[in-house]
């Protein structure tokens, strides 16, 4: 209350918005430079002399996991709806692309887009169905959805069950592509989804998602429609994971229910999102890398790999409950926050404001 009294007594000071805005711009530039360097490094990676096809392939798998986790992060991180069934959207994306490729001869890029769009439509519908679910009930509902899709791809003839659908080699703009080409397609897709997520979470729509996450009641009283924004979040989330699914099928030219009816896919991408930091732009990057690479590094350990993965997972969750990305960026963000507050409280430089410029009292 002491603060309140002082503001009452003194003429209302106007925070130094100009200084704060300048600082924000500087921070934003720093972020852009870092992200640019990161993507440049990813672009250069296959050009390194010792890099072979399988290594590029593994890197593409990491990218696919990152994108799948990005999809999960929209729903779970920003909208607060835990999904334990997002593997279903991987499946929808993969099968959409595979079937279109098999029956209409579609190439990689239209296949990805179609996979994303079909996922998005089904995601929107699922958002409407699950409108009233929250917390554990949402987790169980999405899990049920994954089982439902799993049994469909297992049993409906067109999906060819465990036999699977084998696909012709991938082409882009009529040219056949190898592992290197596929990696670049995936990388460009990742750059685009990252840009989109960046734009989304800073937009008014992202704000509405976060509002629903933090308080349904307050969000609705501010005019956010639960029906629309929940379904929109489901839809966007499903789109990104669906694109990842299409890539996941095309990278091995093979889609079968043995892979996509498996519930562990859903768990893996949820783990990727949560471990990385589901409410942070670069969280899925850490999480996707973690989930895709841990089995790879621990391959020689056979069954012990699963145990170790579990141990590592628990360690991460205990040490960095809001995600690895948060842990890594914590000092930077703390420093920036302090600078912003200092700037906000520093006296105005040029124009000295009169009391309460907004004409309040």
């Amino acid at each position: 209350m002491a603060e309140l009294i002082t503001t009452t007594a003194a003429p209302a000071p106007s925070g130094n918005r100009a200084a704060v805005a300048t600082l924000r711009n500087i921070f934003q530039m720093q972020n852009w430079v870092l992200a640019g360097l990161f993507f440049a490094a990813c672009f250069a990676y296959p050009l390194l002399p010792f890099v072979e096809g399988w290594m590029v392939n593994q890197a593409a798998l990491v990218i696919i996991y990152i994108m799948a986790a990005q999809g999960v992060s929209i729903l779970t991180g920003y909208t607060g709806l835990v999904t334990v069934g997002h593997g279903a959207f991987l499946a929808i994306g993969a099968y959409t692309a595979a079937l279109l490729m098999k029956y209409t001869g579609l190439s990689v890029i239209p296949g990805m887009i179609a996979g994303g769009l079909v996922s998005a439509v089904i995601g929107f519908a699922l958002g409407l169905v699950f409108l009233r679910l929250a917390g554990a009930f949402m987790a169980i509902g999405t899990l049920g959805f994954a089982f439902f899709i799993g049994s469909i791809v297992n049993n409906v003839p067109i999906f060819e069950g465990r036999t699977g659908i084998s696909l012709p080699p991938n082409t882009v703009f009529g040219f056949e592509i190898d592992d290197f080409g596929f990696y670049y397609v995936a990388l460009v897709a990742l750059a685009l989804t990252t840009l989109f997520v960046y734009s989304l979470i800073r937009s008014g729509v992202g704000r509405a998602f976060k509002a629903l996450r933090d308080s349904d009641k307050a969000a609705e009283s501010s005019g956010v429609s639960r029906v629309l924004y929940r379904s929109l979040s489901f839809s966007i989330s499903a789109f990104i994971t669906g694109v990842a699914g299409a890539l996941n099928g095309l990278i091995v030219n093979y889609v079968s229910s043995e892979v996509y009816a498996d519930i562990w896919y859903s768990v893996d991408i949820l783990v990727a999102a949560v471990v990385g930091g589901s409410a942070m732009l670069f969280g899925p990057f850490f999480g996707g890398f973690f989930v895709a690479m841990v089995p790879f590094f621990l391959e020689e350990l056979y069954d012990f790999a699963f145990i170790l993965k579990g141990v590592v997972l628990i360690a991460v969750l205990v040490l960095a409950p809001v995600g690895i990305a948060e842990l890594v960026s914590r000092p930077v963000r703390a420093w920036r926050q302090r600078k912003l507050l200092e700037a906000g409280e520093s006296p105005e430089l040029a124009d000295a404001p009169g009391p309460s410029a907004g004409g309040g009292s």
Binding site: S203, V205, K210, I236
Partner: protein, 254 residues
């Protein structure tokens, strides 16, 4: 002209009559108070009017338009904002973000917005400017970058009021805006409520336990007790009403 009217609102929670045939009339551009002892049904009625609460019978009209079947987020689109008695803020988010979410109804096309298309960016910039102006009016300038959970109770109350104002509403339902504030903060909020009403032309329906504030700022007062209308009139009339004195104030005010 009537801005908001409700007639015969009845709400039952199990065997408890929370609202029993309550009617009230809020004229446009006025500050109307709603008072009554604890448990009289004020907050329930607020929830009914902002459409968070279903009711058994009765009708609500907003600007002569029936809103019985509206959802909470549709009420704000019609121009009616509200604040909550126990605060409903986004604690992990900054003050500025909390205010901005209040302006949600001015967002425009969500698809253009999420892709940050040029038009949407202009809209966004305008919303931020407006949020800053509101923050200025409520003296929240220094709190803008802080998370709301780090603010004291009095500041949070203001953030909630700022969020309601960001919608540029024609009417606001204020649920105990000065609860927990000291005298100086109360005086300042009184001034703010008055200026919102006079300068911005916003109709206000106010629930408040601070009698001196209610008597000072309200043009008209409704008193409810045990979920039913007890009396209504100007502050002077209500103050002199024997029923009100018996039921609510306990003894005559000096």
């Amino acid at each position: 002209m009537t801005h908001l009217r409700c007639e015969g609102i009845t709400v039952r929670f199990g065997g408890v009559m929370a609202c029993d045939n309550i009617s009230l009339d809020v004229p446009e551009g006025k500050i109307v108070g709603l008072i009554g002892p604890n448990g009289a049904g004020k907050t329930t009625l607020f929830n009914v009017l902002s459409r968070f609460q279903e009711y058994e019978s009765g009708h609500i009209t907003y600007r002569d338009r029936n809103v019985d079947r509206k959802k909470p987020h549709e009420m704000i689109r019609l121009g009616m904002a509200r604040t909550f008695q126990n605060l409903n803020l986004f604690g992990e988010q900054s003050t500025l973000d909390n205010i901005l979410i209040g302006a949600h109804r001015h967002l425009g096309n969500p698809l253009a917005n999420m892709f940050s298309l040029p038009g949407a960016r202009r809209t966004e910039a305008a919303l931020v400017d407006k949020a800053l102006a509101i923050a200025d009016m409520l003296h929240l300038n220094h709190q803008l970058d802080k998370t709301v959970k780090s603010l004291s109770y009095g500041w949070r109350k203001r953030v909630e009021l700022a969020r309601a104002l960001a919608a540029e509403p024609e009417m606001i339902l204020l649920d105990e805006p000065v609860a927990g504030c000291n005298d100086e903060a109360t005086a300042e909020l009184e001034e703010i409520v008055r200026s919102v009403n006079r300068n911005l032309g916003v109709t206000i329906l106010l629930v408040e336990h601070d009698m001196s504030m209610v008597m000072k700022v309200c043009d008209y007062i409704y008193v409810i007790n045990f979920g039913a209308n007890l009396a209504d009139g100007t502050p002077a009339e209500v103050r002199e009403n024997p029923d009100v004195i018996a039921a609510y104030l306990g003894e005559p005010t000096p």
